[in-house]
């Protein structure tokens, strides 16, 4: 099974399974990654699914939409160049092993 590794803000690594076609947020909420709240359920409206993408993976993700870009400005934790909304990262086979860092807060 392909996987995504979430790294909590305290450094703990938590690998989870992910399936083709679901978002990284959906994989996370299905498997109880506490650091992802996803209040809007993946509709790109809440910015509570914020992640910092591991530098090695950043360029391999599809570009972000204007909506995602605007929303990230309102994220609770600092926005960094590698900030993304995990509900907008659609998982595919070529993302097997993706590493996402969790911010220290989503609210």
């Amino acid at each position: 099974m392909p996987s995504i590794t979430f790294i909590h803000s305290d450094g703990r690594r938590q690998p989870i399974e992910a399936s083709e076609g679901e978002s990284a947020m959906q994989a996370a909420t299905r498997q109880d990654i506490n650091g992802i709240l996803a209040e809007c359920g993946g509709n790109a409206m809440c910015a509570t699914c914020h992640v910092y993408v591991d530098e090695a993976w950043l360029a391999r993700l599809p570009a972000m939409s204007d909506d995602e870009d605007a929303l990230l400005d309102g994220a609770a934790a600092d926005r960094l160049p590698n900030s993304r909304l995990s509900c907008q990262i659609k998982f595919a086979a070529d993302l097997d092993g993706l590493v996402l860092n969790l911010p220290d807060r989503q609210l």
Binding site: D32, E39, C40, N43, M45, L71, A75
Partner: protein, 411 residues
């Protein structure tokens, strides 16, 4: 089950389509409003798609189908109205909403404007004040001890923050709740609730139309922010008042019923109040779970733009489909122990705010109000007792109470 006879109903053009279970329930009757849960269960168990004979419309009550309809806005459109009335056949009772009752691409433009006016960044600007007002309200209510949680809390708190945040004048605010109640009744069928609301609507409509104009909206408020977007060229000057109208229609009575739902839950389930008190950071989730559990916005319609297959049945073009958000939010296929209120539940994915492109554009504001109020209760209130008869308020779309007499004690 409804005992209503067929004589007072709108004559459906034809009966149930072959294979679709037909039900004789009226989701817009007082009997339904009093206790929707058993009937929701009947609707869910009858099948993924049902036919509601009384009004000649399709219905979906399971989570999967409600979610699917919400997320296919080109097939299940909003521009023909999100109530029973089909705007292709009947003139809307007021000029059509340019966001709620619009489809892409028109919807995309207006939606972008309101999403920015009510963005996470905008919420940072109101949060502190809303928090202070919630704390003051709870202190005042603790001093009184006994009061009506609907009028004195669920209505009073949003009324103390939302109209000011919009930038409304003081005069005439008493029109806001009657106007919203009218709007939400109007999505229903032509029953007494809808007809009486529309008959009495003239003064409320006149008030709201005037408040949507730029000169009546204080600088810095959400209303003025909408008008500023007309200067920027994102919307026309004629569109700005209509978008302000959307905020006035949907921004107050919804949070009243959301906060009312949360207080009613905490009053009925003391173990959950105790859990919340032991960890006030659960306040935001306790509010969200109340939205799932009670679904203050119970239903919306869509209209099919083409023939479409849904759950194995073919639906023709121009058919109304009623989505039972409240039933989806308690569908055992989606939720564990759906009928229990659990402040620690992972609520993500509930459809109490809708889903897809029309998902509530004011959800962040609703959550700020709900969270800061429940956080104030968590820190200051030790117990909530229901002390008198609980009365339900009847509305074609909104679920909430008319009266909830309670006594609270200080922590």
């Amino acid at each position: 089950m409804s005992a209503t006879s067929r004589t007072d109903s709108v004559t459906p053009e034809r009966g149930a389509p072959a294979g679709v279970p037909s039900l004789d329930v009226d989701p817009f009757s007082n009997e339904f409003f009093e206790d929707p849960h058993a009937i929701h269960d009947t609707l869910r168990e009858a099948g993924p798609l049902v036919w509601l004979d009384k009004w000649g419309v399709y219905g979906v009550a399971r989570y999967a189908e409600v979610h699917a309809v919400l997320n296919d806005p080109l097939t299940f459109c909003s521009s023909r109205g999100v109530g029973l009335s089909d705007f292709a056949k009947e003139k809307p009772w007021r000029p059509q909403s340019i966001i709620l009752e619009a489809d892409p691409p028109a919807h995309t433009r207006t939606r972008t404007v309101l999403a920015q006016v009510l963005s996470p960044t905008a919420m940072k600007g109101v949060r502190e004040h809303f928090t202070a007002m919630a704390a003051a309200k709870v202190d005042e209510l603790l001093a009184r001890g006994s009061f009506d949680a609907v009028a004195d809390l669920a209505e009073a708190y949003p009324l103390s923050v939302f109209p000011d945040a919009m930038g409304l004048k003081q005069e005439g605010r008493e029109n806001l709740l009657p106007y919203a109640s009218l709007v939400f009744n109007s999505f229903g069928p032509p029953n007494q609730l809808r007809q009486e609301a529309i008959e009495r609507s003239a003064p409320h409509q006149a008030y709201v139309a005037a408040q949507c104009q730029r000169e009546n909206l204080a600088p810095g408020g959400f209303g003025a922010c909408v008008h500023a977007r007309a200067d920027a060229g994102d919307i026309t000057p004629e569109e700005a008042p209509l978008l302000v109208r959307s905020l006035l229609s949907a921004g107050l009575d919804t949070t009243v019923n959301g906060i009312g739902a949360a207080v009613y839950c905490l009053a009925r389930f003391p173990d959950q109040l105790a859990r919340l008190r032991s960890d006030p950071t659960l306040a935001r989730n306790a509010f969200e779970e109340a939205i799932r559990y009670e679904s203050p916005v119970q239903t919306f319609f869509r209209t099919t733009t083409r023939e479409v297959e849904l759950a194995g049945h073919r639906i023709g073009e121009g058919e109304k489909v009623l989505m039972f958000l409240g039933a989806a939010n308690r569908d055992p296929r989606r939720w564990e122990n759906p009928d229990s209120y659990d402040v620690t539940r992972r609520t993500s994915g509930h459809v109490g705010f809708g889903s897809g492109i029309h998902m509530c554009v004011g959800q962040l504001l609703a959550r700020v109000e709900g969270e800061v109020m429940l956080a104030a209760i968590a820190r200051k209130v030790a117990s909530i007792q229901i002390t008198g008869p609980v009365k339900r308020r009847y509305n074609n779309t909104l679920r909430g109470l008319e009266s909830l007499p309670i006594t609270i004690s200080p922590a």
